[in-house]
């Protein structure tokens, strides 16, 4: 009976999160509270259980990176890079778009997607105004690039952080397994943008002078802080790359980096904490307790056994279903709760496998499907919603379908390419 009640509470909270009838933080906390009331979760399970409680590695990795971003964004480096790139592109709209796509994808691999688009979108609007290009295609291309670029690393997208923590996969595992296909996918996106936005690339030579007059160096507000931030960010990346060697969790690497940056920047707490999304962190905590309750009552275990017997040693079939189902669902519902729910299931599925590259490919199928699926609709990922808001505020509203008519084909094509990559790398060529 308890299991049924836990399932009802979980599904109810999930529906509330998906439909946004109430704020997702309230929905996740209500779901977590229901698990406590049902007696499935106590303080020990919620706060100290590594398998069924709050995953503090995820929480503190996010917190550390948010603080780092909070300092980094004050340097003006993103504005500098975007204007510099647009000028190097000679003001030719397609070349400018390619530059902005590449910058956004790289930044999203290192920082969270929402922050990246928040920083890139305003300067893109400025560049578009200068060169006389319609801004909507540029904004849409950037958010698509952000969701693709974020797929490349452990820290690029919250679902990857959850997967890393639940799977024990390292930063290097993510880079080695996902970055190659992400490079290909960015190329695919550029080609698709050329086709989808063909009418947006009219070149106005007479307006190039207006672009060239922008002085990107003026955007650099605090050069000493930029230098210090660059050094710390580089050290953090070295820490991520070597975390399995030096035996320090990515969460601690991020916190140490955040602490160093705070000390070096000498900013006030309200400044570097202003960019911490406390609501997102609390949402994650509630989510972990909800999913942990499903594990506690054995629902995840039962599902994993069913999935394991269904898949058997047909790992390619399993990864195929996982990448396409994850892609489809992530376009409709937030990919964070989806991955939080699926991770324990995939962990059981992988541990029941034979340890081959094919059996372990389920993790990459989950990451690729969930991350790339976020491009499908206007509500598929948080970055999409943020860019739509920026566009509307600047007098260029993008409707749900206005986004989806570009996002859906890109999500579909990139997921098919990702599936082909999985097939080739982990099955055909393994």
């Amino acid at each position: 009976m308890t299991t049924v009640l836990v399932l009802v509470a979980f599904v109810s909270a999930y529906v509330l999160i998906a439909t946004e009838r109430i704020h997702r933080v309230a929905a996740a906390l209500s779901g977590a509270a229901a698990m406590v009331v049902l007696g499935v979760v106590d303080a020990h399970v919620a706060f100290f259980s590594e398998d069924t409680g709050v995953d503090w590695n995820v929480i503190f990795l996010l917190l550390g990176m948010m603080v780092i971003v909070g300092v980094l964004r004050r340097t003006g480096v993103f504005e500098y890079a975007a204007i510099w790139a647009a000028k190097r592109a000679g003001g030719r709209p397609f070349a400018v778009m390619v530059m902005l796509i590449v910058i956004t994808a790289i930044a999203s691999a290192l920082l969270d997607n929402v922050t990246t688009v928040l920083l890139i979108a305003p300067v893109s609007l400025l560049v578009c105004e200068r060169i006389g290009a319609p801004p909507v295609p540029f904004l849409v291309a950037e958010v698509l690039a952000s969701n693709i670029g974020g797929t490349a690393t452990l820290i690029g997208d919250p679902p990857n952080i959850i997967i890393a923590s639940r799977s024990g996969l390292s930063f290097n595992d993510f880079v080695l397994n996902l970055a190659p296909v992400v490079v290909v996918l960015v190329g695919v996106l550029i080609v698709m943008c050329r086709v989808m936005f063909a009418s947006a690339f009219a070149f106005h030579p007479e307006r190039v002078a207006a672009l060239m007059k922008l002085d990107e160096r003026e955007a650099l507000q605090d050069v000493p802080l930029l230098v210090r931030s660059g050094i710390v960010l580089a050290a953090v990346l070295v820490g991520f790359v070597s975390h399995s060697v030096i035996d320090v969790e990515p969460s601690l690497v991020a916190l140490l980096g955040a602490g160093a940056l705070v000390a070096l920047s000498r900013l006030d707490p309200e400044d570097y904490l202003a960019d911490v999304e406390w609501g997102t962190l609390v949402f994650f905590m509630g989510l972990f307790v909800m999913v942990g309750a499903l594990v506690e009552v054995g629902v995840i275990g039962d599902l994993a056994r069913s999935a394991t017997s269904a898949v058997g040693d047909h790992y390619f079939l399993g990864s195929t279903v996982l990448v396409f189902a994850s892609g489809g669902l992530s376009g409709i519902v937030d990919n964070i709760p989806y991955v939080a729910t699926m991770s324990p299931l995939v962990a059981d599925l992988v541990s029941a496998g034979d340890g081959s590259a094919g059996s372990r490919s389920a993790w990459w199928a989950l990451a690729l499907g969930a991350d790339l699926g976020g491009n499908a609709t206007a509500v598929g990922a948080s970055a999409n919603v943020v860019v739509l808001g920026i566009a509307a505020r600047n007098g260029h509203p993008i409707s749900f379908w206005g986004f989806t008519k570009y996002g859906l084909p890109v999500a579909a094509v990139t997921i098919v390419v990702a599936w082909a990559y999985l097939a080739l790398r982990y099955f055909v060529l393994a």
Partner: protein
């Protein structure tokens, strides 16, 4: 002391007044805003100087102030030129975003005036008598009477 006693003659524009003229009036009279009246002389709203600036400065520059530094002087002039084809009607927020009208009757007390300014974040209130604007009270004029200089140190 009542609003009617404090009210000073104040520049008034209509919805059809050219935006450049409105901006110039704010500058020439060194006032924080203007009273916008209907054609029949009844008050429509108050146009604050910051609303003119919000219209002039692109939203993306307001979102990311670092971008304001990358413009050269010519580009800044081009931004200001955006006012040339506009009227006061274009500068006002959309009707659904507008707040209550900062207007008080001529017999309103100092505290009523202060409450209206505080509630509506307005640097001035229009003073009306029988539905007609008779002047306005600015926040500096109000403070002059709320905190009189008893030491005589005002230059």
């Amino acid at each position: 002391m009542r609003a009617g006693d404090l009210a000073e003659p104040f520049p008034v524009v209509t919805l059809g007044t050219e935006a450049v003229t409105a901006a110039r009036t704010i500058g020439d009279h060194r006032v924080p805003g203007l009273i916008v009246c209907e054609d029949d002389g009844s008050p429509h709203t108050v146009l604050g100087g910051s609303q003119v600036l919000r219209f002039l400065i692109p939203q993306y520059v307001q979102d990311d102030p670092a971008l304001a530094r990358v413009y050269d002087e010519d580009s800044s002039d081009q931004l200001l030129a955006a006012l040339s084809t506009r009227t006061v009607r274009d500068l006002l927020p959309r009707r659904q975003d507008r707040h209550e009208l900062p207007v008080v009757d001529s017999d309103a007390t100092l505290l009523e005036i202060a409450a209206s300014m505080a509630r509506l974040h307005s640097p001035l209130v229009a003073v009306v008598d029988d539905g007609r604007v008779v002047g306005a009270v600015t926040v500096s004029r109000l403070f002059e009477h709320l905190f009189p200089d008893v030491s005589g140190t005002t230059s």
